[in-house]
């Protein structure tokens, strides 16, 4: 396995000589590697990037995966491999004692519109734009920005935040300290959980959709539109519920608050016909409910 791994390795020193076929390499001395992988169906791109830096994924109409890796030093080893429609890209730190600047690297990918992604990094931004397909994005401290993506989207960070603009499909976000901003979504299933981060959901609730947003200590803010239709449950243990849309919400149509009695801190309400289900909770933070103009 070690030998095979070494065989796959493309380092800066040997990269230019090792690139074959459709691969296009820059000069050996340049800290840049470019490779192209022709694919047939819907590719799966797997990136393991342990270094600091940015991963950017955009789509194009062509049936190929293009990878451009740039770095500040030779302290990073890249391995790139194609197995059918699966492309594996791994960046390994060759010298952990090198200064952080030397360990910076960035990956720029162009993929077909329908592509599955599995990206894992420690630091630096993950940016994905106009890609349709299931994706799992993991980061320690880096942020994750998604724009016009759709599919089953799983984002897991420890400290990094998520900004999801015009996303569609299903979204799972789990973080310790990261925040989540969901803007203009077309998501039918949303599950956001953070311990200390904030959550902002600014957009429409799809009818029959399920939306769960939980923050241990942060702010959970929802801004809905006049066209929405949802049942709302907002609950806190020691925090507050700031309902700035009380005039638009029909209160507690199921009588649930009475069942909870005086212990319950929160509210139930229905907007429109109550087609979607929205659950907001915080342990000690604030839940804010707003209706957009």
């Amino acid at each position: 396995m070690c030998t095979r791994s070494m065989g796959r390795s493309i380092t800066l020193a040997f990269g230019a000589a090792a690139l074959l076929g459709s691969s296009t390499a820059s000069m050996a001395a340049s800290p840049r590697i470019e490779r192209h992988f022709v694919v047939n169906g819907r590719p799966v791109v797997v990136i393991q990037n342990v270094a600091n830096g940015r991963i950017e994924v955009k789509s194009s109409k062509s049936q190929e995966v293009a990878v451009i890796a740039t770095q500040n030093s030779s302290k990073i080893n890249f391995e790139m491999e194609q197995a059918g429609d699966r492309i594996d890209v791994t960046a390994n730190v060759a010298d952990a004692s090198a200064p952080p600047l030397d360990l910076e690297t960035s990956l720029q990918l162009t993929v077909p519109e329908e592509t599955e992604l599995q990206l894992k990094t420690e630091n630096g931004l993950i940016y994905v734009e106009q890609v349709m397909g299931d994706m799992t994005l993991e980061s320690v401290a880096g942020e994750v920005h998604l724009k016009e993506v759709s599919g089953y989207i799983i984002v897991k960070t420890t400290g990094g935040s998520l900004v999801c603009t015009q996303c569609a499909g299903k979204l799972d976000f789990n973080s310790v300290g990261g925040s989540a901003q969901i803007l203009q979504p077309a998501l039918t299933n949303v599950n956001l959980r953070t311990t200390t981060g904030n959550i902002l959901f600014d957009g429409d609730f799809i009818r029959t959709g399920l939306y769960s947003m939980k923050s241990g200590k942060g702010l959970v803010e929802v801004r809905f539109s006049g066209n929405d239709s949802f049942d709302l449950k907002a609950q806190t243990a020691t925090g507050t519920v700031d309902n700035q849309a009380a005039a638009f919400l029909k209160p507690d149509s199921h009588g649930t608050v009475r069942r909870f009695g005086s212990k319950f801190r929160g509210l139930f309400g229905t907007f429109g016909a109550g087609l979607a289900k929205v659950e907001l909770s915080t342990y000690s933070g604030t839940i804010r409910i707003l209706k957009r103009d």
């Binding site: 952080p100 630091n123 401290a141 420890t158 400290g159 300290g177 311990t195 243990a237 069942r259 909870f260």
Partner: protein, 214 residues
């Protein structure tokens, strides 16, 4: 009252005596009667489960070998080298199984939390179930190891991980204080167990990172 309302009542109040409206609905609804019967079976079975289960060590060994055979984790390195290994090599071997154990501990906590949340609400809930105390102690021991390991690391990622671990610890302490005062606050309990699980996952990630960097 509709089926959905009955489900909601059951979800919130458990099998405690149902409100009159719910009873009337159940009496004429075969779907809800079946649902209720299923729930009663599940609860009665759950009550028969032992309160505290300590898996024997062979379970861990078996689990470890199965994961290794499936290639999910790497095989333990054979002691081929005669030369003394570095301190980190030895520590890495130790943590290889500990990382697995940590995640498992998180899963055990989460499962126990679920069971705990499904208990009838009449019973007062203890702050921490006794069966979990042992695993929590293990979690704290591993935290000590990880913290020592990361003291040497000053990279932005190490710093971020340390901060996140501290945030979780603070949050857990906060939840535990609250639950001592209000042991029946199920929302706080849910957050507490979720934080335990997150902590287990975070410790496992820190251990893995320690191995890959060193």
């Amino acid at each position: 009252m509709q089926c959905r309302d009955v489900e909601e009542v059951l979800e919130q109040d458990g099998l405690a005596p149902l409100p009159e409206a719910a009873r009337m609905h159940v009496a004429r609804c075969p779907h809800c009667r079946g649902y209720l019967a299923d729930l009663e079976t599940i609860v009665s079975t759950a009550h028969e489960l032992p309160a505290e289960v300590e898996p024997p060590s062979r379970v861990w060994t078996s689990l470890l070998s199965q994961l290794e055979s499936e290639g999910i984790i790497k095989e333990s390195a054979a002691p081929a080298k005669v030369a003394p290994a570095s301190w980190w090599d030895g520590f890495g071997q130790l943590l290889r199984s500990r990382a697995l154990a940590t995640v498992t501990v998180g899963a055990v906590i989460a499962a126990a939390a679920l069971l705990q949340l499904r208990q009838p609400s009449e019973k007062a809930l203890p702050p921490v179930p006794p069966g979990i105390q042992v695993t929590l102690e293990q979690l704290n021991q591993q935290e000590g190891l990880v913290r020592n390991m990361h003291l040497a690391g000053a990279s932005p990622v190490d710093v971020a991980l340390e901060q996140n671990l501290q945030q979780i610890d603070d949050f857990i302490a906060d939840c535990e204080r609250h639950l001592k005062a209000e042991p029946r606050d199920e929302l706080a309990r849910e957050y507490l167990y979720s934080a335990y699980q997150q902590k287990a996952e975070l410790l496992a990630a820190m251990m893995d990172r320690g191995r890959s960097v060193n």
